[in-house]
């Protein structure tokens, strides 16, 4: 809840123009990450699991831009190959939270009274648990695998999406133009399709962009703790965890995978905030 709620644009905030450099930089970062996801083999300088005992724990430098691990595997290549799992899990989790949360938020926002009250109590119950712990609970129930990790992270964020979308729906619903449409004879389904959805669609999508960053942070934390994919598959959280064994001798092993997460999250957050400023409910 916290991160996403904090990043969510407040309705009365002044519109701010983000420097173009920030936007272009963020776009480039995301394109690079996307390229890694799509064609890791083309971009990685070495095969990710090529073991080379004589090249173990090499510091960053020539030959190995980000160094090697205790088996002599190239860290950069492992990060490039790990991007696929990390990004896909984050994206799937966000999609789940977006779809389910928007549905709940829409229904709660459109129907007053009992439906809204009951749904919002459920949301309150989910929000009473910290997202990371909710996801841990889901993993306790589901077991761990990339798919289950995505489901767990997605489920843990449904409530936040639902609450924020409901707020937007209520804001749109009370606008005079919705009343004007009612007077024009537009029926409830028409109000939803022609006025409510187009006006909350933009904010919900920009929220999803922000949510992707939050989902990445959460899922990589769970991977780090060992509740994600199983080796030999390796996402960024697992790479950082693996580096802990050699923390004292090889700082690069746990540092760079975390940098990859941080940069990706920063880039999506910047784009998400720019989108929110542009698409906020008027």
């Amino acid at each position: 809840m916290t991160l996403l709620a904090a990043l969510q644009r407040r309705p009365d905030a002044p519109r701010r123009r983000m420097p173009p450099a920030t936007l272009i930089g963020s776009g480039l970062v995301l394109l690079t990450v996307l390229a890694c996801v799509v064609m890791p083999d083309l971009l990685a300088p070495h095969p990710p699991d090529a073991v080379a005992p004589d090249a173990a724990l090499l510091p960053p430098g020539h030959g190995h831009l980000l160094g090697t691990d205790e088996l002599g595997r190239d860290l950069l290549s492992r990060i490039i190959h790990g991007s696929r799992l990390s990004v896909l899990v984050g994206a799937a989790a966000t999609l789940l939270a977006l779809v389910a949360g928007t549905l709940v938020g829409l229904v709660a926002g459109l129907f007053d009274g009992a439906v809204d009250a009951v749904l919002m109590r459920f949301v309150d119950i989910m929000l009473a648990f910290p997202a990371l712990l909710l996801a841990l609970g889901a993993i306790a129930v589901l077991g761990s695998s990339p798919t289950r990790l995505a489901i767990a992270v997605g489920v843990s964020n449904i409530a936040t999406f639902a609450r924020l979308v409901r707020g937007d729906v209520l804001r749109v619903r009370t606008r005079p133009y919705v009343m004007a449409a009612t007077v024009s004879g537009v029926r409830p389904a028409g109000l939803l399709l022609r006025h409510v959805l187009p006006n909350i669609g933009g904010p919900a999508l920009s929220l999803a962009v922000l949510g992707f960053g939050v989902a990445m942070l959460e899922s990589s934390s769970l991977s780090f703790l060992g509740f994600g994919p199983r080796p030999p598959a390796a996402d960024w959280g697992m790479l950082a965890a693996a580096g802990r064994a050699n923390l004292a001798e090889a700082w690069w092993l746990s540092t760079f995978p975390g940098v990859a997460v941080a940069i990706t999250v920063l880039a999506t957050t910047a784009l998400g905030r720019a989108a929110q400023d542009r698409l906020a409910v008027q």
């Binding site: 133009y177 009343m179 024009s184 006025h195």
Partner: protein
């Protein structure tokens, strides 16, 4: 103006280089000590920026040029710390909207006393005592209790008085009042202005009254300065500006001033094709009853179960005939908007009946409801809010046609163009979204949306109050014209008596949800009988105005009004 004026502005410019905007291009102003100077102009002419430039409270991005002299001091060369010591102490400001100009989390007394504390004029206890005295002299009853309350616990008029008290606390010589009453009701407005007049006249204080309300300026000020698009275009004694203004902007502003003695507008200035106007002639032969509210009450459930329910309307009856306009006046909270919601069946009465063409609205379902939706239409106060920001003007106008399935797809475009024509909306604007249109253009779109279904009943909720005077006049004329053409019955809700006088045949005065007085518009507004109506009329700006110059607003103002 022989003596050195207290405030003298020469060639003032304000621009925002980053945004590439020049707000003020050349402003000159003289305010002789002890006088009231009205700064007039349409919205967007830079009036509020001028006030901020005088106080030195422009946003940091702003760049200024020119000279501002205050009592021999060069404000334009002064550093921030010195300037700050003038603010509140020698230059007081009464801001525009009392709803947001008071800090919501601090008690009123603290905010009134603040200037005294800041400038070291009193200790904490002494300042608190003086705040109560200030609130009393600002005309607030029971000032001790008001001082302990928070802004949200006061009415708009009380907040405005509290703000005036706060601005006057340190007895500044120059008072800048930026649209001080545009957000309060007429009765409260008159009271606040009377109090302001009392502190300025005879005390040697100077008041700069910034307003778009010409009637108010003529009534309250000696001097007038007219601004348009960031520059002063004319200045002089306000009466001369009113009767013999030279600049076109001055003339159009003065012509559009609401005036209680102006007669009801006649249809025809829009030059309708005679054939179309005649087509409806027979309907106007004998006025038939269209809408009847029969002793309706609407009680809203209380916010909390233990409280008593609040009646918004209490046993009000009203009738609207075909081709006729019923004006509904009253202050905010009088129940005007509830009346509109009932007449449109956006809500149902808790007692009484609403009859449309003889049929009770409560029983309407399905097809009957859709037929009613076609025949009764609504025009809102704020045209921007009434249009979906995502929807193009043409689609917005087409919406009722589509929703009510009045015509096939092919005919729809023709209907939209016809409605746009009717309200003089250029067809080229139909592809634009609301934010790409001016306020006047938006209101035309809203009107076209209402007219496209060829309704029988039009309900206007403050249709022009968010617009500039000149645009306001055009919109009112438009409503009158279309009403004549379509033979519409119209329920016209407004707190602006001048506007009601211009369009209404009969008037209904509401107060606290009850009918106070009802009768023909001319009689009721010129010779009101109920004491409340008397007070309302007396408070309306423009009652002492000179008759407007004989220029039709439509002749001087380009369609769409004046934009910066």
């Amino acid at each position: 103006m022989t003596a050195e004026p207290l405030l003298r502005i020469r060639g003032l410019t304000v621009s925002y280089p980053a945004a590439g905007a020049e707000i003020l291009t050349s402003v000159d102003l003289d305010a002789p000590a002890g006088t009231t100077v009205a700064v007039l102009g349409p919205s967007g002419s830079g009036k509020s920026t001028l006030v901020a430039a005088i106080t030195g409270l422009l946003p940091p991005e702003a760049r200024t040029g020119g000279e501002i002299w205050f009592d021999g001091l060069a404000l334009h060369r002064m550093d921030e710390a010195t300037r700050r010591r003038l603010r509140g102490r020698r230059i007081g400001t009464i801001p525009q909207d009392p709803a947001v100009a008071l800090n919501p989390v601090l008690p009123i007394g603290v905010q009134v006393a603040e200037a005294l504390l800041i400038h070291g004029l009193a200790g904490r206890a002494e300042a608190g005592r003086r705040a109560i005295g200030l609130l009393r002299s600002a005309g607030l009853p029971d000032p001790e209790s008001v001082a302990a309350r928070y802004p949200h616990e006061l009415s708009g008029g009380m907040r405005q008085r509290a703000l005036a008290a706060a601005a006057l606390a340190a007895e500044p010589e120059l008072i800048l009042a930026d649209e001080p009453t545009s957000a309060v009701d007429v009765v409260a407005q008159a009271g606040v202005l009377d109090d302001l007049a009392a502190v300025t006249t005879g005390t040697g204080r100077t008041l700069i009254l910034v307003t778009h309300d010409v009637g108010l300026a003529i009534e309250r000020a000696e001097w007038g300065v007219v601004m348009a698009a960031g520059r002063t275009v004319e200045a002089g004694p306000i009466r001369r500006l009113a009767s013999a203004g030279e600049h076109p902007v001055t003339r159009s502003l003065m012509a559009a001033a609401p005036h209680l003695r102006t007669a009801r507008l006649r249809p025809g200035s829009a030059a309708l094709p005679p054939a179309r106007a005649q087509g409806r002639q027979e309907k106007r032969g004998r006025p038939a009853e269209l809408l009847r509210l029969d002793r309706v009450s609407r009680i809203y459930p209380p916010a909390h179960r233990a409280d008593e329910p609040v009646p918004a309307l209490d046993g009000v009856s009203a009738v609207v005939h075909r081709g006729e306009t019923l004006g509904v006046v009253g202050e905010s909270g009088a129940g005007k908007s509830t009346l509109a919601a009932l007449a449109l069946r956006l809500t149902t009465p808790t007692a009484g009946r609403v009859l449309f063409d003889g049929a009770d609205l409560a029983g309407l379902r399905g097809a009957g409801m859709r037929a009613f939706r076609r025949r009764a239409q609504l025009v809102f106060q704020d045209p921007y809010a009434a249009l979906d920001p995502q929807m193009r003007a043409g689609d917005a106008i087409a919406e009722p046609v589509r929703a009510l399935r009045l015509t096939g797809r092919s005919e729809r475009a023709a209907r939209v163009r016809e409605a746009a024509d009717l309200v003089h909306l250029p067809v080229t604007l139909l592809r634009r979204r609301p934010r790409e249109l001016s306020g006047g253009e938006c209101q035309r779109v809203v009107l076209a949306r209402a007219f496209v279904v060829r309704p029988d009943l039009l309900i206007c909720d403050e249709p022009a109050s968010a617009l500039d005077a000149a645009v306001q006049a055009q919109i009112l004329q438009l409503i009158v014209d279309v009403q004549a053409e379509l033979g519409l019955g119209c329920l016209f809700i407004s707190h602006d008596l001048g506007a009601v006088r211009q369009v209404a045949d009969r008037v209904l005065v509401l107060r606290h949800g009850r009918t106070v007085e009802e009768g023909p518009a001319a009689e009721t507004l010129e010779k009101p009988s109920h004491p409340y109506t008397v007070a309302l009329v007396a408070a309306a700006p423009g009652r002492r105005n000179p008759p407007p110059p004989a220029v039709s607003p439509a002749a001087t103002v380009p369609p769409g009004g004046i934009h910066p």
